[in-house]
């Protein structure tokens, strides 16, 4: 679709009938595409996942001390395992070059405060814990404090490196004159020559402005029982990275190329999706189907991806990423998953497809005989409801009946604790 559109956009001078035909085809194509997308029977599972770590006998969380510490932030694991030889030799490196992240203690306390705020937000909305104190002040609500044996104090040690380069690089611009009367081969050749010349650095060198933001955040969280100061779960360490450039040549960077690739691949994959074409239409549609929601989600605010974000934005994004990762460790969370339903008892399958897992469990439990598929579906309903050990039990029972089924094997592996 994009291709046809582009083609039409680029050649508006084409004959009218031709354009009209294109549009007719396009409209037809769009109709079909929307039809298939919108009405396909999709089974999406809204499932509850248990916390990754076992937190026992804790009902309350108190926010302790979030402090800035200095030290080295380990590079993304993909870089460490790779060879370091080509790390410094790339010609696309801009100076000064960043090849490691050394956090200093002099970083403003702001980042630690933002990590705390993001963490408290997640804990307050997503976790079963009652928060006693959210700002880490010593005072607290005296007089109403619960049993200290059930209170955990959450501390954080924050390492943060942020480099924002606002600068210029000399980029070659090879200008040329094309004769429109030339044949297609000739004009293609001309553009190839021009591109080749630019790549090799020929042409006018002109100072081209750019902004590049590079940041790394590492936080070590520790959860201590208030009564005895013991670790409730082992200290958890999370890091996240960011790199993005606005303007200038897209291939050059201040960050060593291997690190940059690892960061883009492992930490920034979901970003580009948010600004996609369809999501913009969805947003615009929301403005009259649900104006309250439209305002509440900030869709009325203009967003232009070509404007570099502020440093506050950067800090909040990274802080949130780390906070989300940690909260999953200590609290159950919901997620959408694509799981396969086996072709068992049709009533049970209907219930699972309708996301009615509790009903499905009750129904399958009440059946006299259960096939491997039914047993698997029972496990699925348990898994979707967040009861992983029960799910595993039934997946295993299913595997006993049908030892060769790959779907069941995958399910057993998935639910290993």
């Amino acid at each position: 679709m994009k291709l046809i559109l582009l083609k039409i956009m680029l050649n508006p001078e084409k004959r009218k009938s031709d354009t009209a035909a294109h549009f007719r085809a396009l409209v037809f194509f769009c109709l079909c595409a929307t039809f298939f997308n919108a009405c396909a029977p999709k089974v999406s599972f809204q499932i509850e996942r248990p916390p990754v770590q076992q937190v026992e006998n804790i009902n309350y969380i108190e926010i302790g001390n979030f402090e800035i510490v200095s030290g080295q932030i380990k590079l993304p694991s993909a870089v460490e395992s790779g060879s370091n030889s080509s790390l410094w030799t790339s010609k696309n490196l801009l100076k000064p070059t960043i090849s490691k992240f050394t956090a200093k203690k002099s970083v403003p306390i702001l980042i630690a405060d933002l990590v705390r705020a993001a963490l408290v937000h997640e804990l307050s909305l997503q976790s079963p814990y009652q928060l006693i104190n959210t700002t880490g002040e010593e005072t607290g609500f005296s007089g109403v404090l619960p049993d200290p044996g059930k209170v955990a104090v959450l501390h954080g040690k924050v390492k943060y490196v942020e480099q924002i380069f606002e600068s210029e690089e000399n980029l070659p611009y090879f200008t040329n004159i094309k004769n429109k009367g030339a044949t297609l081969e000739q004009s293609l050749l001309a553009s190839a020559v021009s591109m080749g010349a630019e790549a090799s650095g020929a042409g006018f060198l002109i100072a081209t402005p750019y902004v590049e933001q590079i940041a790394a955040l590492e936080v070590e969280f520790s959860l201590l029982r208030k009564s005895d100061g013991e670790n409730v779960i082992p200290p958890q360490n999370f890091r996240t990275f960011f790199v993005r450039k606005w303007g200038g040549a897209p291939e050059t960077s201040h960050l060593a190329i291997q690190i940059k690739n690892a960061v883009l691949k492992n930490y920034q994959q979901n970003e580009t999706l948010s600004e996609s074409f369809l999501s913009r239409i969805d947003r615009a549609g929301l403005s009259f189907t649900n104006p309250t929601e439209y305002f509440a989600r900030g869709f009325n605010l203009r967003q232009n991806a070509h404007v570099p974000q502020t440093s506050l934005d950067l800090k909040i994004t990274l802080g949130r990423q780390v906070a989300r990762k940690y909260v999953k460790q200590i609290s159950p969370y919901h997620e959408t998953a694509e799981l396969l339903v086996e072709d068992g008892n049709s009533v049970a399958v209907t219930l699972i497809r309708g996301n009615a897992y509790q009903e499905a469990i009750a129904f399958i439990q009440g059946m006299n005989e259960r096939t491997a598929a039914d047993e698997y579906n029972l496990g699925l309903a348990y898994e979707a409801g967040g009861e992983i050990s029960q799910a595993r039990k039934h997946y295993k029972l299913a595997l006993k009946q049908d030892g060769n089924n790959e779907v069941i094997k995958a399910a057993v592996n998935r639910t290993q604790i």
């Binding site: 994009k2 409209v27 705020a117 094309k178 502020t310 506050l312 309708g354 996301n355």
Partner: protein, 379 residues
């Protein structure tokens, strides 16, 4: 060329029309439970909004040389920004029917969260009839940039063929500088609701909104232009006050305007979390015996539909009618009755996916809003 523009509009209208009508589902406005349980909280007072950071700056860029000029704000100016954000939150809270805002400056005068905790702990407040206090902390950064984009453009020269010459049709590449002005604003706002008796932190939210706009600069690619025209066509179809200078595409808003917009959005997000809200959903309506029900449900007259459907299903419990009855209960927020009715419908026709989906929706609500669980169990 005219025809081409006509076609483009036609195509957009087609697409939009289809987007709106695809799938034979009815669009209903139903009640959605509060994400945060604010039961028993009726009167709220709003405390001060602490300042985490306020940073306003101007940037300029010429020939790749960047300069930053921060706007120096004294304490009073910073406080005034914080108060304007607070005013937006109060504004929206007073507009919801679920809370009564108690106007007192007793809590606002407190310096920070610690002071508030102290006051609440010792119950040193004088204002009576306050169930909870809302306080906040804000982080703000806005920058405005005045700069120049650089790109290579092909300029086309055309001279028609004449008797004396062969004509000319050349494309000449040229490096073009495109001046632009842009702005980017970020507001992070932490809002906390503390219940006074028994003292507890009911909820804390930390929301961020950003605003970015650019005027001038290199023109966007054609594909993005289509996207923009989509949004503008859709946006212009609703009556709005957006034709004022402040919100025009061609004017960068002032710092105050950006702060106000960002704060308003966050505040409505917060109100959505603490109050029962209406949301628009598209659910399927079953084709029951009682056809009027469908019309009533589509029109949003749920109470009347419940009355009629209860009468109809008393004599003849048709599963489709029962499902529609459940749908009405769900829409008015009576999830306990919705669950029982959906279950009844499903028991008569256990392989009907629609009925299972009704059950699934209630289960999901129950999973994601633990306070509903208690409401359901008490039935």
């Amino acid at each position: 060329m005219n025809n081409y523009i006509f076609n483009q509009t036609l195509f957009i209208l087609f697409f939009v029309a289809f987007m709106l009508t695809s799938c034979a589902k009815a669009t209903l406005t139903v009640l959605s439970p509060a994400e945060i349980n604010t039961k028993d909280i009726k009167n709220v007072a709003v405390g001060g909004f602490e300042i985490g950071q306020i940073l306003l700056k101007y940037k300029t860029e010429r020939n790749g040389i960047w300069k930053t000029h921060p706007v120096l704000l004294n304490e009073e100016q910073q406080k005034s920004i914080s108060r304007s954000v607070r005013a937006r939150v109060i504004n929206l809270l007073t507009a919801t029917p679920y809370f009564k805002v108690v106007f007192t400056d007793e809590f606002e005068k407190l310096e920070n969260d610690a002071a508030l905790q102290q006051l609440v702990s010792v119950r040193g407040y004088k204002t009576q009839n306050v169930d909870a206090v809302i306080s906040g902390k804000l982080w703000l950064e806005i920058e405005r940039t005045d700069g120049v984009d650089l790109s290579k453009e092909g300029l086309e020269y055309f001279r028609p063929r004449s008797r004396s010459s062969y004509g000319l049709n050349l494309t000449v590449d040229q490096v073009v500088w495109w001046p632009y002005k842009s702005t980017h604003g970020t507001l992070g706002l932490e809002i906390k609701m503390t219940r006074l008796l028994p003292t507890e932190v009911v909820a804390t939210t930390f929301e961020t909104r950003t605003y970015s706009q650019k005027i001038g600069g290199r023109t966007v690619e054609s594909f993005q232009q289509i996207a923009a025209s989509f949004s503008s066509i859709l946006a212009s179809s609703k009556p709005s006050k957006t034709d004022t200078i402040e919100t025009s595409e061609d004017v960068l808003p002032s710092f105050e305007q950006i702060i106000a917009d960002l704060a308003l959005s966050i505040a409505s997000g917060f109100v959505r979390r603490v109050a029962v809200t209406e949301k628009t959903v598209s659910y399927s309506i079953a084709d029951g015996n009682f056809e009027n029900a469908k019309i009533l449900i589509e029109a949003g007259a749920f109470d009347l539909a419940i009355e009629q459907l209860q009468l109809a299903t008393a004599d003849n419990p048709d599963p489709d009618d029962l499902y529609n009855l459940g749908l009405c209960f769900e829409a008015v927020g009576d999830y306990g009755l919705a669950l029982t009715t959906y279950r009844e419908a499903w028991q008569s026709d256990p392989e009907n996916l629609l009925f299972a989906q009704g059950l699934g929706r209630i289960e999901r609500l129950r999973r994601e809003h633990p306070q509903l669980q208690r409401q359901l169990e008490s039935r």
